[in-house]
Amino acid sequence: MSGYWLLIPEYLLLAGALVSLFGDLLPGGERSSAILGALAAFAAAAFAGFIGTAEPLFGGMLVFDPVSVFARVSLAALTSVYLLWSGGRGTGSERSHEATALVLLSAVGGMLMCGARDMVALFIAIELSTMPAYVLMGYRRDDDRGLEGTLKYFLLSMTTSLIMLYGFSFLFGITGVTGYAEMDLTGAGVLGVLATVFVFVGLLAKLSAAPFHYWAPDAYAGAPTSSVAFVSTVPKIAGTVAMIRLVEALSPGATQLPLLLSIVAVASMVLGNLAAYPQLDLRRLMAYSGIAHIGYVILAMATNTNTGLAAAVFYMVAYALPSMAVVMIAAEEGSAVEQLSGLVDRRPWTAWALVVFLLSLVGIPPMAGFFGKLYLFTAAFGAGYRALVVLAVLMSVVSAGYYLRIMREAFFGERVSTPAVERSIPATIALVLLVVATLGMGIAASPLLGYLGVSF
């Protein structure tokens, strides 16, 4: 079959993963394997962007529409930045070349998820993206808290994924097909709606949306912070795209879907923001704030309009950038909020970068987060979800409270003399890239959304 070349980005990532597995043999060891992986991921991003949109592959199993291209490019690019940073850190005992391979494999799964318009393809892609994530989370085998968090992640994730699979089996039974294109749930009655609910429970749990979020805070709080930076951001982009496609495919038959999604959105926004407020560990705080941000994204999905769905993807990427960066800084400085104190003295530029990231997460112009929220709220407002938008704005005020606390600690906290972190050029480049992207995405918001086929 022609068209296999469309998957070159995935091949590149796979090749990177295979090579980095033999990182021991490379000159420079782990560091060079991570840098090599970063290069592979960068090439994948560039290639995915270069290919652009194309005809579907495998009879519609994988599509290459603008949403898919946008998500694939940003996913591969973020992976590349992450590997660049982790290659720069190179703190041997904690990371090694296997981590690089796992990150790349998980990215392959994510890339496939972005294009999947078929239940079988989606299922395989989800599993391919999740399984390396388990290993990344439980990477330190001598840390029983990390393993405990991973076990919780694993058990909850597997249960919900089987619930989703059970839903898939009914969808297949009702429609007789696995591709979304011919899937028609109209007239399927209660069973169709039930199957849809099963599927969405599984997906929502992957995205850590309340009330299916329970794994996230515990798993993140136990895991190595550097793994959290990847697992809490990149797979969520792919998950968002997967969910958008299912919303589009299943909405005609499952009439209760918007209501279900708005309930989940409200629960996530409220629970995430409130629970994040008193947290003292940055990983846990970012887990809850991630729940809150997913709430906003799901609010946009509930509209099931083109504008809403495009805004959801855009917002997810706009959230992933600064969120990854904040967790990276936490990985360098220590994961307790108070360990950030005096950051402005130790590393003034990092402290200011942190301000950019946090302000973007709060949603202050001209950062990406502001435009993400602007488009997202406008779409939801236009679709009639006015009360929910007001609630979302209120909740983002609450979020300002805890993000501000981080900032205050970095600038005004009691000066603690923590050993200066070894600075490396690749890690610095990675942070700079994230700052530029966080600012640039805000400015490029409207052409990007235009590419996604939406003009506000």
């Binding site: 399984m131 393993l147 076990l151 089996s169 007789g176 515990d218």
Partner: protein, 103 residues
Amino acid sequence: MSVGPLHFMALAAVLFSLGLYGVLSRKSTIMTLMCLELMANAVNINLVAFSHYRTPALMTGQMFAVFSMVVSAAEIGLGLALVLAIYRLRKTVELDAMQELKG
């Protein structure tokens, strides 16, 4: 008695519920893993049965079931490795012993 799709669905539903119940109630991590496997098999029965009755010529469902088996085998393997690692450190696989992380 002729066996129809409904019977398979019922069997699968019972197996799935049993598995879910086990996941929620078993104390040992090994037992929960086995119950997860039960749920996976319920799904496979569903898939194969639907395939047989809905698309006998295409075998889409059977293919799906094969993929699902492979994936769940891999997952269970990973889970067991995790349990072993935890056992090495804590000398227990009781789920109730895993409550250090909370809040």
